[in-house]
Amino acid sequence: MTDRPRAAFFDVDGTLVRTNIVHAFAYFAMNQGTILGTAWQTARTVLSIPLFLATDRMNRKVFNELFYSYYRGQSEDRLETLSEELFEEVLKPAVYPGTPRLVDEARRAGCRIVLVTGALDFTVRRLAEHLGADDLIANRMRFVQGRATGRVVPPIIEGAHKALAIRDYCVREGLALEKSFAYSDSFSDYPMLAVVGHPAAVNPDARLARVARAYEWPVIRTEA
């Protein structure tokens, strides 16, 4: 039996909070600083919803690339400032009631707490601090001269790449992958769940619930 330390990897959207990356983006879109800017960005986002839905259904990677391109031209300072408000107004109230206890229990078990999310790092950094996470694995926006390029630093953290990121993290930090835990709500995170020794489905979607039943993974509810 290995004595190496272990970690608990938590997906964020739908697992720890009831929001998703669209909520964050919508918040930024509706807070552009000028009425015209807000109106334009909001209208552009609303009109793109069918496109988002279609690409999300087709390919999550393409969806993410498309989605993050809508950040192009935003000022880094403004995004950082708005992230603070985003946390207070959107994310904090959306934390599931059972989330703090789940994270605390993992910490009490001696696990390093790591959030793994396809969201942009500046949008969830405050949430990670709030939950007492030790580390954050998230997508990073590429900025040039203080402006968002709309492209994230590859590889995009989603699906199979979450599993890869977790594996790399464990190797880098000397953690025991087979003794570590992973928590997610979505079937799209199946690779992340399958890569650790102790996966668990949290408020799972229908496909993940079926997988959890088939593999007899524990199913946790944190909504109530």
């Binding site: 206890r101 789940l102 229990e105 696990c111 102790h198 007899e216 524990p218 199913v219 946790i220």
Partner: protein, 537 residues
Amino acid sequence: MRDPKSLRRFYETTEGIVTIDRDSPPRVLFSGEDLLVEDLPVGTKVIYAKPPVQGLPNVKAAIRRAINQPEGCDPLHALLRPGMKVTIALDDISLPLPPMRTPDVRQEVLEVILPLLEESGVDDVHLVIAICLHRRMTEGEMRRMVGTRIFDAFYPDRYYNHDAEEPGGCVQLATTAMGEKVIVSRRAAESDLLIYVNLNLVPMDGGHKSVGTGLTNYEGVKAHHTPHHIRKSHSYMDPERSEMHRSVDRIGRAIDEHVNVFHIETTINNRMFDGPLDFLMKREEDYVELDRLKLHGMRAMLSRLPAAAKRKLFHAVPAAYEVIAVAAGRTEPTHAKILEASWKQYAVDVDFQADVVICGIPFISPYNVNSILNPLLVQVMACGYLFNFYRGKPLLKKGGTLILTHPCSDAFDPEHHPSYIEFFHRLLPETRDAQVLERKYERELAENPTYVHMYRTGNAYHGAHPFFMWYWGENGRQHMGKIIAAGADNEHVPKLMGWDVAETLSEAIDIARSIHGRSAEIAMLHVPPILLTQNLR
């Protein structure tokens, strides 16, 4: 007035043991949620439970008498002071089995003592279900146990399940001379008075075990829930010969030194079935046409239902238990009175040990009320409870063969028993050695944050619980030469347990005879209802 035919059978209907003859009717055995009807070899001794002891005519009067004339202390009303902090701890849904008809005896006790507390100016009263590492009871189960009026008045702020994983929720009061940590719920420890309302189903329950295990945490219960303690218990249904109870008693005495504990103990008779299932309380010799009709009707219905529906059906039928004794006061004298009543109901004298013992495994155990009797629980019923249903010498000779009837399906309830799944599919294939399992893996599963969360917020047994279930069968496993699962629907589950498989009971008996010879002494423990063999020779 008995007719001559009945008179001829009078001996058979009053003795606890029936010896199978050539014209004996077949026996009825449980096989999970099914009923088997099997012919047994001539000479097989079938051991039956005693008839139910007459219930108390007025339970509330008996409760009042017990608390007004308690054992070894002042009456309850004399212990109460206005403004004091009182915790009332209650046994959980694992007692009795199946759950009794309402009103549950715990409700009756509460209906007597809560008005007394109120009249005495005691307002700070919490009702805590002493689940230790068992699953939390659901809201519906909690309501059923205490009745709607009490539930509405106390739930959820003042009527809740004990949480053995709440940070700071338990305190260590002392350490015994043997190094056992004495840990109890902080609320109970800080109360001016702790009233424990218990329901003794079998002699293993109650006494110091109530507070010492019910209101402690993993570290507390680990003191005696070990393979070592179970191996040295002969049996754990007989507290005087149980190493586990010796440890529990040391811990309990230390608790009594620090906490003002007032016990209200109750026990019930063995009237587990009545109405359409009342034939299960009878010997097959005593069946009348109506009983045979009920048996065949029940079997026909069960054969047409899927397993989940059969389970639902059996769990929906509450038992017709009646309260036969109530005692109150200090821990040990109170418990002694209840144990006496319990033995009076359950002890069946036997003067032999068998080479082969046959047991039907029923649909229920203390750990699967409203859930599945999974393979680990089948194991705990066979090697744990049923093997330990003895006082003095075990019914089975050392090295003998136990034949159990159960399908042993590879089915687990992921909400109630998530850690059992990992134990069974990940750990048991590696080793069946209880000591190795304890050393290598117990703490890992006990501290698994997923299981801790499911225990605290869902209805899951604690991560350490499957280990305790495995240890629970340890003295049985050490004693038995072979275990044969008759009627198992697969081979891998019995194989993982280290058992043999037979398609039918008669095939299992043939296998056992091939080991012990044609003259092997065969006995059948006709349970449920519960009985304990007593062989003090």
